[in-house]
């Protein structure tokens, strides 16, 4: 049976933990707001770039640029975005499970190379001695724009050099603070919409010319796709952490109240015992 002192000590310790989880929740809430704002702000650019690509790629054959070439997928790259830090509920575990699922399902008929962003994923696959073509263990403290550019360069380089036939990105899409969904997207080769050939406006001037524009736009599209995935992942991570810390705070409160009850019972019991001792001593002295 726990002594009064031991229970009191536990309550103090849980209260300290609760203060930490509460603070983390508030920090995550503030960061989440900023991250969500960034996602919304990045949308117009991404949409417009995608529209331009559609317009341009419909005017050329797929041989016009290496990034438009659709090859049979014998070897593919999987880029996984996990967080650098834990304490965010099932966020990392869900992503890693999704990646393992992808490896299991497609690993038999294709050769899959893994690239991992975020310390948690890197540690996981390193412990299992899985080879990685790229590792970014401290990704999220960097500027997202620079990181996206760097990843895009590698992704495109590998495809153009023929080291891979396609690149996928697996990240957590932000639905709400309560719901983040691991999502798989194909970024390379860039998807085309050649079926819309008829609807093109006739009078359209291109400077310098379609091919040059396309050559500049295609890598940009990949980069924008990565950038968007990074922003979604940031928002998801903060959302997941906020939810996890919120329930941790609630759990701590529950524990404190049940321990307080126990403590009061123990105190009552000791008072009763003391009283009985006094009474029985007085009785004996009579």
């Amino acid at each position: 049976m726990a002594t009064l002192k031991a229970i009191r000590k536990r309550i103090v310790s849980i209260r300290n933990t609760q203060q930490i989880t509460k603070a983390m929740k508030m920090v995550s809430a503030a960061k989440l707001r900023r991250a969500q704002e960034a996602v919304v702000q990045a949308r117009p650019y991404a949409e417009k770039v995608a529209a331009l690509l559609k317009n341009l790629s419909a005017r050329v054959a797929q041989e016009a640029h290496p990034l438009l070439m659709q090859r049979e997928e014998k070897r593919v790259d999987l880029w996984l975005l996990t967080a650098d830090r834990g304490l965010c509920g099932g966020y990392n575990a869900n992503l890693i499970r999704a990646a393992e699922g992808f490896l299991r399902v497609h690993g038999r008929e294709k050769e899959i190379q893994l690239a991992v962003v975020g310390r948690k994923g890197v540690d996981y696959f390193r412990r299992r001695r899985v080879e990685m073509i790229a590792r970014y263990p401290n990704a999220w403290s960097r500027s997202m724009g620079e990181l996206a550019a760097e990843i895009a360069e590698q992704m495109i380089g590998r495809f153009v050099r023929g080291e891979t036939d396609g690149a996928y990105i697996l990240y957590s899409r932000f639905r709400s603070a309560l719901s983040q969904v691991p999502t798989l997207e194909k970024l390379v080769p860039a998807a085309t919409a050649a079926e819309q050939r008829e609807e093109l406006p006739v009078e359209y001037l291109f400077e310098p010319d379609v091919r040059t524009l396309l050559a500049s736009l295609l890598p940009k599209v990949v980069e924008v796709g990565i950038y968007r995935a990074l922003l979604e992942a940031v928002a998801s991570e903060h959302g997941a952490r906020m939810t996890a810390m919120d329930s941790a705070t609630t759990n701590a409160a529950d524990m404190i109240s049940s321990l307080t009850l126990q403590m009061n019972r123990a105190r009552q019991a000791s008072i009763t015992r003391e009283l009985m001792e006094i009474v029985s001593t007085a009785e004996a002295l009579k």
């Binding site: 650019y45 770039v49 724009g145 009078e203 001037l205 524009l213 500049s216 924008v224």
Partner: protein, 138 residues
């Protein structure tokens, strides 16, 4: 016939502007060009340079560092890698970027594969300084 043209200025991180304006000038791949209302449909690469637009009697100037511009249905969309109003430019930062790019170019020599990147960085810094410099003279 519309007497104004819609101008949307977008960068990867934000939507900078979405308004009706009277005239726009931007640094295209084949040189500076101007766009007035009812311009023909048009798509061009942008170089690093100065972009400006007029709204009524006021004119605004920005430094952009490459991107795309499209005119379609009397709306001009500028997709810039970065864009800053002359008033927003950080002179200190632009100056140190220029120095850094210059010393890097000197160090690498024109044959090096990173030379074009350093040159582009220099051009962006110079454009920023030019656009910001005009502000100071006004």
């Amino acid at each position: 016939m519309a007497d104004k043209i819609g101008l949307r200025l977008v960068t990867p991180s934000r939507l900078l502007l979405d308004e009706e304006v009277d005239e726009v000038a931007a640094p295209g791949a084949l040189g500076q060009f101007g766009v007035l209302p009812n311009h023909i449909s048009f798509l061009t690469l942008l170089e690093a340079g100065e972009m400006s637009y007029k709204q009524g009697s006021r004119s605004y100037r920005l430094a952009v560092s490459g991107g795309y511009a499209e005119v379609l249905d009397n709306i001009m969309t500028v997709l810039a890698d970065t864009a800053e109003y002359a008033e927003e430019i950080d002179l200190e930062r632009a100056r140190s970027a220029r120095e850094k790019a210059e010393s890097k170019m000197a160090e690498l020599g024109p044959e090096h594969e990173e030379f074009p990147a350093a040159e582009a960085a220099l051009r962006r810094a110079v454009v920023r300084l030019e656009v910001a410099g005009k502000r100071a003279n006004r």
